[in-house]
Amino acid sequence: MKSVINVLRKEWLCFKGSDKGVFGLYLILILSWSLLLGTGGQETGIKTGPLWLIFFSVVVAANFSNTVFISERVTGSLEILITSGLSRNSILYGKMLFVSVMSIVIGGICLALGLLWSELIFKTGGGHADSVDFLIYACSVFVNVSNSAYLSVRIANPRLIHFANMFILAVIIFSYMALSSYFPVPPVYLILVLLFLGTVFTLLARREFNSERILQPVIL
């Protein structure tokens, strides 16, 4: 556990030390997304809700994952981290935890701001997304993070990871929506599917992190 906290601390320090422009980009992302959620679909004509949140999770989690999982392999700092005495599993879990926490915090801020904008600006009487949506968002973050961790080793091409994440989540959400159009499917099933997939990808990522492939060159 101490090793996981060490990795978590390291990731936080690295994030904190980022250039100011990075924080600016996150601010823009949060503002635009929260405004979109705040409209509840009335202003834009686009229906928001779980689907948007899930795609938002791809944007946020994959962005963090790129830095946390890929750039360390490019710079060689992952190899140093591995030879520092931290177990490979704790490195994996520490990184996953960091990306998950950051993505969930950003998603939470978006939702909270969305609620605020809906009251103050759009007068729609509350944001469209609710706590179940947020839970779906958290679970899709888990799928994104674990899948990014796995694919960062397996594919070693960061561009493809975004597509892969997007594709997997699109398949899940559209399947869910298609099924829902025929008979009512409680959201809990969607949450369970996401949790199951996240667990499978975590196990695969664990296997990859304990293989030689983790230190093979990354194609940018």
């Binding site: 390291k10 320090l13 710079t75 931290l86 490979r88």
Partner: protein
């Protein structure tokens, strides 16, 4: 001294491409082992195998009694490493980088500070507050050395550790190597800087054609004769008093009393029909460089 690093007939291949074959190596405590070879000869692969970052296809590896691929925490806590990439987190300062590394190695902040004060106070990196990404290559290398020697591990694996170091930093690096050796550590230095290897390493391994051949610095050949490789010349050299006769692009051997023996040897070889192209006395200081350059040269010539 007992061996702290042992490789026994290891093989390593990446897919169909074999890198190392049947490689054996022993490095004792309190010694510095030099590793040289052409680009792509497998030096970094060997270091990565010893660091547990790669797994050998065949053979046994033991470092400090651990199998590196087992990835034991105790193993890594006693390993100092410099790799081809500096591996720093560029957004952090050197102190922040060291703090993370020390924490992973369970070295207390007090010990880290004491180490920095004792060994790095007179260097520019001691008071450096810049983010690592703004440092020069030489400064980064100094930082990498500072990180590797933190906690004075028992085994050091250093891949091109003196690249881009200025004169002062290089002297400091040599002092650190000597200090580590005096503390009983075993060091493997892989480098293309032959002067560095010559200066610091007791034993030198040459990696070529997937194999490791060792150059024993205590049995230095002193003379060389450039001719063809016929075994007949070896017998003549030995009859004329040559010892440890080897052929590696040219005949190399030690010889007692060369003022007397060399003219006799040359006459004997010429009389036997040997077409001598050169006879040279090899300076002890340059023998490693000469030998390796000759080996590299013959290999490059052969490939051409």
């Amino acid at each position: 001294m007992p061996s702290i690093i042992t490789a026994d007939k290891i093989w390593k291949a990446f897919g169909r491409y074999s890198i190392l074959e049947d490689l054996s190596l022993q490095v004792e405590k309190g010694s510095v082992y030099g590793l040289v070879g052409l680009n792509g000869a497998g030096k970094t692969t060997l270091l990565r195998l010893l660091a547990g970052n790669l797994k050998a296809n065949k053979g046994e590896l033991a470092v400090m009694g651990f199998r590196p691929w087992d990835h034991r925490e105790e193993f890594y806590r006693n390993l100092g490493i410099v790799l081809e990439n500096d591996g720093f987190w560029g957004n952090l300062t050197i102190r922040e980088n060291l703090s993370i590394y020390a924490s992973a190695k369970r070295i207390s902040p007090e010990k880290t500070e004491a180490y920095l004060r004792e060994y790095w106070k007179d260097t520019e990196i001691y008071s450096c507050t810049k983010k690592v990404k703004y440092l020069s290559r030489g400064q980064k290398m100094q930082c990498a050395l500072c990180r590797a020697f933190l906690g004075w591990p028992s085994v050091f694996l250093l891949d091109e550790p003196a690249v881009a170091l200025d004169i002062t930093a290089f002297d400091h690096f040599c002092n650190l190597i000597n200090a580590a050796r005096d503390r009983g550590a075993a060091l493997i230095i892989s480098s293309h800087q032959l002067d560095l290897i010559d200066k610091l390493c007791g034993r030198v391994g040459i990696l070529r054609d997937k194999h490791l051949s060792e150059l024993d610095r205590n049995k230095k050949p002193l003379w060389s004769v450039t001719s063809d490789s016929s075994q007949q010349w070896k017998e003549i050299i030995e009859k004329s008093g040559g010892r440890n006769v080897i052929f590696d692009a040219k005949w190399r051997f030690e010889i007692e009393n060369p003022e007397m023996s060399i003219p006799e040897l040359v006459a004997a070889l010429v009389n036997a029909g040997c077409r001598i192209r050169e006879v040279r006395s090899l300076e002890k200081e340059n023998i490693l460089g000469d030998t390796i350059r000759d080996i590299y040269g013959s290999r490059a010539g052969g490939e051409a």
